[in-house]
Amino acid sequence: MSTPQLFFAYFAVMMTGLSLMVVTRKNPVHSVLYMLILFAHIAALYLFLNAEFLAAIQIIIYAGAILVLFLFVIMMLNLRKEETEKRFQKQWPLGIGIGVVLAVFLIMIVGKIAVIAPLGPYSIDAVRSDGHIMTVGKVLYSEFLLPFEIASLILLVAVVGAVVLAKRKIE
């Protein structure tokens, strides 16, 4: 195997193992910390795919904001008692069954994938000459301007909704 393939193999093994650790740990804080390592690996994989801006976003938003939100909620709720009880629902064999069937199904499909779409204009050299952030920005603010505005609306709704839902009493 060449060096990039070895690099990818390390990331694939680590990410699969870390995902398994996330869904099987008993203590939610441990799950969140495994998720943090997983997000660092995903960001490195984005760097490997020449998406520097997304790697930064992955660290800043996922690891810096969303996981901290999860940790805050775990700290606010008193979960000492829950850690001693069993971690899976009683239908967990069905969960494993559905997961395995889905994985086998998807893996069988992947063997049949043949990408024959024409290549776009953003080759590695084209992106490198402008810089990745500028390339993303040009596409985002021209072709995807309306979805960008709608995303801002979604964030506004989330802010207002979170405050209203978590407030104790609304006058």
């Binding site: 869904v23 939610p28 997304l54 979960l79 994938i113 290549l119 985002l140 978590a166």
Partner: protein, 100 residues
């Protein structure tokens, strides 16, 4: 050069693990974490396709998915706190107020 199918395989395996966690865990916080895991696995496949097709659209889509995931986590955890205040449990098999 790493073939595209390797990325898709990794994404499929991570997505299946996320589905398993979503269906099997009792703790509502872990269910939200499994949801984030599934969204991330989809992001990996989108970025891989974007790289191999030399197109920017996949990466823009990932940008929007991250936005929606942040909003979803905030709203979901707010609902969780509001629920916990009335009924101090976050185990999904004990949340059966509407069960008739």
């Amino acid at each position: 050069m790493v073939p595209l199918s390797w990325y898709i395989l990794l994404s499929a395996v991570m997505f299946s693990i996320g589905v398993f966690g979503f269906l099997s865990r009792r703790n509502l916080i872990l269910i939200f974490l499994s949801l984030e895991l599934m969204l991330n696995s989809v992001n990996i496949s989108l970025v891989a396709f974007s790289h191999y097709l030399q197109s920017m659209r996949g990466q823009i889509l990932v940008f929007f998915i991250i936005t929606v995931a942040a909003a979803e986590a905030a709203i979901g955890l707010a609902i969780l706190i509001a629920f916990y205040r009335n009924n101090p449990t976050i185990k999904v098999d004990e949340i059966n107020l509407m069960k008739g």
